[in-house]
């Protein structure tokens, strides 16, 4: 990204951090957490300790970061190198991202930017201008992406509450600032479990690794009565709903399952992971030393704010997460598709000079689809 664009983003972000300090608050027990930040076009600075909101605001004002991060882990010495920090525990976190949901709409709003010649196109295999295969993909998530991500969040919350008895008040949902949601679980029985334990918890939530015996199917002499039924808990109940549909169909479907045999049943279970399993990013939940985007900070991939969702069903990121100012800016835009921000429609633009509000300019420049005129 060229100097002018960087300066422009820096200035816009700084203004946000100055004017919206009420949104940038340290999480609980902040002195036990590790903080980090990135500046535009530069590496990560981490192992920072911050004790209160004031210190955090100062960091944002002094460094004009492109991104700000904070650990979900608690340490005795958060500012020391990793192996001297003395890990104590970590909140459970989940990342649900529209790009991981295999949605058919993705193709319509994903753009490839050639790393070699900067050509923008909708071809995702190679650059049509210079044939390079080094393409960077940028997506402008659509309503379907956001709604599908919300469904995953709801599925996740249901498992957390019903299967793991986690209090609803201890589950916080944030819009990630780009294409999905971050779910935090506080004060649960899982605070102190390590990475390998979290990995198996992930498999449970994603419905990975289920074996036929768990759902009543045996290799030899399978028995009708051992199949799941309605009115049970956990995956037995969700399995019944998905596979049988209703009580009246149960018997007939069990006969079919038995007729198809053991390995076919395994296949059914593997497919279920795609339908009823929750699509979370396993790496995020397994990582107990990660620094994670800070609530209230701007996501430099989009210029939108990572923000708490009070009412997920009504949440609209293009309205509720855009906090950049609306003064007019002149840019040259090369954005082959339409998008909506703060109830205004923009695009498509083909290499044209336009005057638009700052928030829209920041969005496109972050996505590398525009440059300052």
């Amino acid at each position: 990204m060229n100097e002018n664009n960087l300066k422009f983003l820096e200035e816009s972000f700084k203004k946000y951090y100055f004017e919206h300090s009420e949104l940038i608050l340290v999480p609980e027990r902040s002195s036990e957490r590790e903080f980090g930040f990135q500046k535009f076009n530069s590496g990560m600075t981490r192992h920072i300790s911050i004790k209160d909101d004031k210190e955090l605001h100062l960091l944002c004002m002094q460094n004009t970061p492109s991104d700000v991060y904070c650990s979900n882990a608690y340490y005795t010495f958060p500012n020391l190198p990793m192996n001297e920090k003395d890990w104590k525990e970590a909140d459970l976190i989940f990342d649900i991202d529209a790009k991981d949901l295999n949605l058919s709409c993705r193709e319509n709003h994903t753009i490839s930017i050639c790393n070699d010649c900067n050509e923008i196109s909708k071809n995702h295999v190679k650059c049509l201008k210079c044939n390079s295969i080094k393409l960077e993909k940028k997506s402008l998530p659509c309503k379907n992406c956001i709604n599908s991500s919300k469904i995953e969040v709801t599925k996740l919350s249901e498992i957390l509450i019903n299967d793991f008895k986690i209090n609803k008040e201890n589950i916080h949902v944030y819009f990630s600032g780009n294409e999905g949601f971050h779910v935090y679980v506080y004060n649960s029985q899982f605070q102190q479990i390590g990475s390998r334990e979290r990995s198996d918890l992930v498999d449970y939530i994603m419905f990975n690794g289920a074996i036929p015996e768990t759902f009543g199917m045996k290799k030899f002499k399978p028995n009708r009565s051992s199949f799941p039924d309605f009115g049970k808990s956990g995956w037995q109940e969700r399995f019944s709903k998905q596979i049988f549909g209703s009580k009246s169909k149960r018997s007939k479907i069990i006969s079919e399952l038995l007729a198809n045999g053991y390995s076919s049943f395994q296949k059914t279970l593997d497919d279920l992971s795609n339908s009823i399993g929750v699509k979370i990013d396993p790496n995020v939940t397994m990582d107990i030393h990660r620094i994670f985007r800070m609530p209230g900070s701007i996501n430099s991939k989009s210029g939108l704010t990572k923000i708490f969702c009070k009412d997920l069903s009504k949440f609209d990121p293009y309205n509720d997460a855009s906090y950049i100012a609306d003064d007019s800016v002149e840019v040259i835009a090369n954005c082959p598709m339409e998008f909506k921000l703060k109830n205004k429609k923009f695009g498509p633009y083909t290499n044209e000079k336009i005057t638009i509000p700052r928030f829209a300019a920041v969005y496109m420049i972050c996505k590398k689809l525009a440059t300052l005129a």
């Binding site: 008895k165 029985q189 899982f190 479990i193 198996d200 918890l201 808990s233 956990g234 037995q236 396993p282």
Partner: protein
């Protein structure tokens, strides 16, 4: 320390303080080496190890969960304590491992029976306390089952590689896992073995006691049976092959895949300079960043921690596992192609 009754010391001898027990009974180790009546117990102790080495469980004199005869209890406990002395004198770690595992499985049987006998009113029974005190697992009885908090369950279940132990294949309800007495005890088998093993490893090694030499020499001979030699084919496992193919095609290999590939090759003895060029085709290739990250993984920069290759289980979760029959139930890609002879 748990307060133990007679039968309980016989069932769970590893819970007793060995030195104290001998003292309380008025014996010294030297007496066992010279007194012809007591010397028999050394042979019994040797047998106890031999049975364990063969992968079997030592059959004790306990009948119906009770010490059969008045004299049987000391014999039970002495043979266990003397076995430890013999093992320490022989210094054979393979035998200590096998012995610990066999003793754990022996104790497991009693634990399981004790658990199954617990009624709702007596939650403080020894079996429940052993499991809580030694392994931090909170067990509660619920109808015919035992419930264990999911987080406690996971701390132990991750040591199993069979899929039936994965949480997805368990009955989960209200933040708990429901287990049968057998499964409850099975869950802590490995830790029970580790616990017994660490007790033996941490015990002081006495100087050779007259009368113990023969049995110790026999143990040294016995342990030679368990030496194994391994050969490797040198072929890469399918997950590594897959990662290499992706990179060759210039497609994007996720961070976790790059981590696996780099740590695998580093463990196989390749240098950072040999590995770095593999990433050249990656869409976001940056020579400086690649070298920095590889050096970090190798432990030559940063904290100095050498990162190891992730387990097959972890790779499965990350969708990086492409197991074939040749994988042969290995649990880490580094084991691929290794054959015991």
């Amino acid at each position: 320390m748990l307060a133990l009754g007679q039968d309980e010391i016989a069932k769970y001898p590893f819970l007793a303080d060995a030195g104290q027990y001998l003292k309380d009974k008025g014996f010294t180790l030297e007496q066992f080496g010279v007194d012809p009546d007591l010397k028999e117990l050394i042979l019994k102790a040797y047998e106890r190890i031999q049975v364990a080495a063969d992968g079997k469980i030592y059959k004790s004199d306990l009948i119906d969960n009770q010490v059969s005869k008045e004299a049987a209890l000391p014999r039970e406990v002495f043979s266990f304590l003397l076995a430890i002395v013999l093992l320490k004198l022989s210094g054979m770690h393979t035998l200590i491992k096998r012995f610990s595992l066999a003793e754990a499985r022996r104790a497991e049987k009693y634990l399981e029976k004790d658990l199954a006998n617990i009624s709702d009113e007596s939650k403080n029974q020894l079996a429940v306390r052993v499991i809580d005190d030694l392994f931090s697992v909170k067990v509660e009885k619920q109808d015919d089952y035992f419930t264990i908090p999911v987080s406690d369950y996971l701390k132990h279940s991750i040591n199993f590689h069979e899929r039936e132990w994965k949480l997805i294949n368990r009955h989960v309800e209200n933040g708990n896992v429901l287990l049968s007495p057998h499964e409850t005890v099975r869950l802590i088998r490995k830790e029970l073995g580790t616990y017994i093993n660490s007790k033996i490893v941490n015990a002081k090694t006495p100087t050779m006691i007259p009368g113990f030499e023969d049995s110790v020499n026999k143990l040294v001979l016995l342990s030679k049976k368990f030496k194994t030699f391994t050969v490797t084919t040198g072929e890469y496992p399918p997950c590594v092959k897959h990662a290499l193919e992706i990179l060759e095609k210039g497609e994007n290999l996720p961070h976790s895949g790059r981590f696996m590939l780099a740590t695998f090759l580093l463990s196989k003895g390749q240098t950072v300079q040999q590995i770095a060029p593999l990433f050249k085709n990656a869409p976001d290739y940056n020579a400086r960043v690649t070298l920095y990250q590889l050096n970090h993984l190798a432990g030559t920069s940063g904290s100095g921690t050498q990162y190891s290759c992730p387990s097959c289980e972890k790779l499965k979760t990350q969708s990086l596992c492409f197991a074939t029959s040749e994988c042969n139930n290995i649990i880490n890609p580094l084991q691929f192609g290794k054959k015991k002879q």
